[in-house]
Symmetry: C2
């Protein structure tokens, strides 16, 4: 296994220790595997937490900070965080205005966040949950009833985080999070499988001349395998699938992310962005904001995902609001 | 070949078009393969340019913007930019205060930047050049007389860029760039080779249980191959080599980068940062600032480099100055 690790069972905790060492404005709870904003809880601010299996970095721990998450719960690699852990995060960020749980739609995550919300309720903390299910590749999947939650999670965390930062109430922060999810669609293509530290070998075999179209962020199968196509054709499949699932009209504005799944060079992501931008321009869609880089990854998978979110003035204003996290930073 | 591209010979130009589409505050000269700050040339500001072979993104094009480079020249993948191209960049950013060339120490780069400087001199543009040679793994290498230029280039561009932004004169900007280089050392370890689009296959064979210790950013051989070690041992080799080459004393402050070479997940880079931070703490060195992520890459190589720069108050002040580029952004 070709990884910079010491022991598979220590990867998550040792990486969290590194996050703490690198970012002294964050607080790390190693025992509970939490990344917490240094100034949490903030009185009367809605707390935002998310979490999920590790291996998708910078999501979620890299998005903790001003204008985004208040805490992130790191499960083991590709494994849901447990309810007690989520409860600890919820308590750590509750400043009296309630807590929003941002949950990617995977069966284990949804169940464990729900149990944590019930436990928090027993302690008189108001919790609302938003389930992100933006991946339009498949209707159900290995670990999901319904669509998987992928790239739109970054958008939900940024935009809901901005509204919470400026004093939005829990119901409103939850509403804007749901709006972002409803207006977003993602689609991913993988050229290779990824290798978890525990397994030590790739999660699936993909022949040297094939790609997995519609792949999930843990290597869950997509729609089909086919021969590797030029970037232009891959972008066409991706954008047409997204626009078929969540139609955008000529004149609409969008926030667009071309995201690397872990092992794809930035030069290829920019090349793909060029294709995606041309296709959206042909559809009359204006890309008002964009991200190109590694934001939600799948360990060392070579692959990419595209996320498109239809954006109005409210969403763009919140997108532009200051953010200061390890993974996203602007406006201050 | 598993890449998101259309044709190997179009990769650099198509990726540059993507950079232009994603970052409208940058100007792209596709013909000359340049990324230029949108407001260049700025009157009486020293212009900073760098460049080199493509495949190391975000370096250099991703570091064009306020507080860092004024322009970057993109060669073909792993191929030096040509003198005419560098001359065009020099002319594009000269606002009358002269231009600094930041050159990584590779034979072709040094020669072509030198020819471009002579051509610029013929047009009455003052040029100073700083050659970065921070890689302490080997004394000479495949493409280098002397040490290779690697991670410290990011630090040189940031710090010299800050001084130029606040009105520093050409001699002073060159002097601080040389100081950063002299006080920096880098060392890299690869777990896999990388594949250029033109070659279509890995640049070297590395058995499943071996790593290349002291590798270069094009896959040039390092000091030796050995069996893959735990992250802790790899960090020890790396930090001890760096400290042997450029000693730091107890009480010294440093800027430290743990950099991914392209295909290494962020979770592993943070795990490595944790080890590096412990070792430097044992040596009494205070990490005053840090970067963890992909800043100077080698296409799809799985690997990492560590760069340590001894930093005084002057360098830290310039490090903290505002920067607004696709690859580094803070303070505004």
């Amino acid at each position: 296994m070709k990884k910079f690790i010491n022991a598979p069972e220590e990867v998550v905790r040792e990486a969290l220790a590194g996050v703490g060492a690198a970012h002294p404005d964050l607080r790390i709870d190693i025992e509970n595997q939490l990344v917490i904003r240094g100034d949490a809880p903030r009185a009367d601010k809605v707390g935002l937490i998310s979490g999920g299996g590790s291996g998708h970095e910078p999501l979620h721990g890299g998005f903790v900070g001003l204008g985004m998450l208040d805490a992130a719960c790191a499960g083991e690699v590709f494994t849901s965080p447990v309810p007690d852990q989520i409860l600890e995060a919820t308590k750590a960020v509750d400043g009296g205005a309630g807590v929003l749980h941002i949950v990617k739609n995977y069966t284990g995550d949804v169940m464990n966040f729900q149990m944590a919300a019930e436990l928090a309720g027993d302690e008189n903390i108001s919790v609302e949950a938003v389930v992100v299910d933006d991946d339009v590749a498949v209707e159900d999947s290995t670990w999901t009833a319904g669509r998987r939650g992928t790239g739109a999670t970054v958008f939900v965390e940024k935009i809901a985080g901005a509204l919470a930062e400026e004093g939005g109430r829990l119901a409103d922060v939850a509403a804007v999070a749901r709006k972002v999810n409803e207006q977003s669609a993602s689609f991913a293509v993988a050229l290779t499988a990824c290798t978890t530290p525990a397994a030590g070998k790739p999660g699936f075999d993909l022949p040297e001349d094939e790609m997995e179209v519609g792949v999930g962020i843990h290597g869950e199968p997509g729609r089909r395998r086919e021969k590797i196509q030029p970037a232009k054709a891959i972008a066409e499949t991706t954008v047409s699938t997204i626009l078929a699932a969540k139609p955008l009209n000529a004149g609409d504005k969008a926030i667009v992310m071309v995201n690397g799944l872990g092992a794809t060079p930035l030069i290829e992501l920019y090349l793909l962005y060029n294709e995606v931008a041309k296709l959206l321009a042909e559809a009359g869609v204006e890309i008002a904001r964009n991200l190109v880089g590694n934001y939600i990854t799948s360990l060392d998978m070579a692959g990419m995902s595209v996320t498109v979110c239809k954006a109005d003035d409210e969403l763009l204003r919140l997108w532009d609001a200051p953010v200061r996290t390890p993974g996203l930073r602007w406006g201050m």
